[in-house]
Symmetry: C2
Subunit: 367 residues, 2 copies
């Protein structure tokens, strides 16, 4: 105890011993009070809290983690950080984490297995309390390694649930069903779907939702109308190039995400055409910038706030089983009508420049 007094210079940070001394109790008591573990006398509790306030004591997370084994850090693994959907998701997730006393360790890895493996090692090494995984395909090895160390895990993706791994579940069907129904109602028959990388579960699920919706309308989903892309702007352009080369090009395209849709619109522009007059385009995600496209992009909205909330809730429940936990809801999706969809073009209106401008407004506007 007088060992402390040897250090002559005033230390910047307060110690648990300082608090104990000031409150006139032992350090064990201080620990018990601040962690709300074990029971201590009411009066002592007050004294301790007072001392904590007066000295502005903050326990050292490192020391705490060293002995307790819990770091109060949550790992966040992201690949496609370029996709504007993710920053929003990240921000929301981080906010929730902080509110619950966790820090967020970021790992924005490229999508190759080596980098991912490296990130996992880092997470393990830092002893994260849990990991949230945002969308990469081939997640199996990651999940396995983390799960084998029994690190709580949540994937924000409708991945088929591994035994010990939670997943945020999204109802892709509803939104995509609405999208296809909308197009059919406008009179479209040949509808294409530009899918994401099929190694990703979410991309597969979206594709399946599309196929299901098409079947529901007794339309054939032909393989050449369903190119596999990669959820990037460039990928969208490439896919559109493919579709334009077909002998019977589609009159409408549903895209697996907004970035793809924007790429499609861009390619369309490059060949001197535009939506919705020459092609109807529907995106997915409803990223913030979608409504600022020219024309504003019709898309299927998926609330990233909901996803972040569900993801964090399930993760937290795994980490602290005591915390209250209402089973997170199925994330909903729904069509947002804007201006990239309209009736399939008729020859009558195609080569008429005056109607082109007026055709910017889509034909039917339910809602």
């Amino acid at each position: 105890m007088q060992k402390r007094s040897k250090t002559s210079k005033p230390r910047a940070r307060m110690d648990i011993r300082d608090v104990a001394q000031r409150a006139g109790v032992s350090i064990s008591t201080v620990s018990r009070v601040t962690n709300r573990k074990g029971s201590v006398n009411r009066e002592m509790t007050d004294r301790v809290w007072r001392a904590v306030r007066e000295l502005n004591y903050q326990p050292d997370p490192q020391a705490r983690a060293l002995v307790s084994g819990r770091s109060h850090i949550i790992g966040l693994m992201v690949t496609e950080i370029t996709n504007p959907f993710f920053p929003e998701l990240i921000q929301r997730f981080e906010q929730l984490a902080v509110e619950s006393g966790y820090e967020v360790l970021l790992a924005s890895t490229p999508n190759d297995p080596a980098s991912i493996a490296m990130s996992v090692r880092r997470m393990l090494q830092r002893k994260v309390d849990g990991v949230a995984v945002m969308m990469f395909g081939r997640e199996a090895p990651v999940l396995e390694e983390l799960a084998s160390h029994s690190v709580p895990l949540v994937v924000m993706d409708g991945a088929p649930a591994f035994p010990k791994i939670d997943a945020v579940r999204v109802n892709y069907d509803e939104g995509i069903r609405q999208a296809v129904a909308h197009l059919v109602e406008l009179g479209h028959q040949t509808i294409a779907f530009v899918s994401g990388p099929l190694e990703q579960a979410s991309a597969r699920l979206r594709l399946q939702a599309f196929e299901k919706a098409m079947r529901a309308h007794h339309l054939k989903a032909q393989p050449e109308l369903m190119p596999e892309s990669d959820h990037t702007l460039e990928g969208g352009m490439a896919a559109m190039t493919q579709l334009l080369a077909l002998s019977h090009p589609p009159t409408a395209v549903v895209c697996s995400n907004d970035l793809t849709a924007i790429g499609v619109l861009h390619r369309l522009f490059e060949v001197g055409k535009q939506a919705p007059a020459d092609l109807s385009v529907i995106g997915f995600d409803d990223v913030h910038i979608a409504q600022f496209m020219l024309p504003p992009l019709t898309t299927v909205r998926m609330s990233c706030a909901q996803i972040a909330k569900a993801a964090f809730a399930t993760l937290r429940h795994r980490i602290e089983p005591a915390s209250t936990h209402h089973a997170p809801p199925l994330i909903t999706t729904k069509l947002i009508l804007r201006q990239t969809t309209g009736a399939p073009y008729a020859e009558s209106m195609r080569r008429n420049p005056t109607t082109r401008n007026s055709s910017r407004r889509p034909a039917g506007r339910p809602q």
Copy 2:
């Protein structure tokens, strides 16, 4: 030593003691070897490394941090994570950090002082080795608090250098000069500038660069042609609404960032006009999506790779003065010509749809 043997169950993680035992040396020696501090016999060094490999030993960062005081964590404070420029920056920065053995702790705070203060506290508590600050105005309090704890600090913003704080310096002048020159060459006389939030240093510097460029061309930068906006899509729209209401609206608009420019384009679309026929628009940043706008956005490019590199290099140099450090270069900016700029409309060409298309290519192409 035989204390260890009491633990009967096999522990998952390897200890420094395991390594020492296996290599037949003391733990001090192991520490010295793995940290490359102090000098040890060549043969022993080999033995230690071999043991490390064989046991797959990874030191516990928590324990290491506890005693050494260095956490090997770098804080990353971001506000406008919605701005697509930042995800790219974040990813690059994180990658550099990881390559140098650091982790990145993310704090994506809203822009209010309370949240920022909270984030700073978290950083301080986790004993980050350094902090990189990405663009918020009113940074003074943060910087002061961190600096007072002598935490190395770098702001990615041309902020006027505080005494002890590094800043990545950007040459805004060059790119904006090119932008204005380009517009003047096309024949524009009344050129507007939609600025960012002037509490941000970077926004102020961009505005000043514009004013300087205008003066260089003997053009007046009138206040009503320089609305203050906020670097968001919505802000761009609002500013454009203002500009459209003027009795003598501008024929060209330079924007403080791409998001603003996209907002401007969108508002233009809403009133039935378009770039470049009715208005020339130039953005700033050259975010990836800019080239996918319809029409592709002419903008001033600022390399986020360069910024990330410079930021990390300066920060690292502060943290480990030993590390090699070439003074990071002034970040360059330059005009990227795309399709949102053209000659100011003349009545003769306005209502002529055929020339409209051909005017998409900007007239002059300096550079």
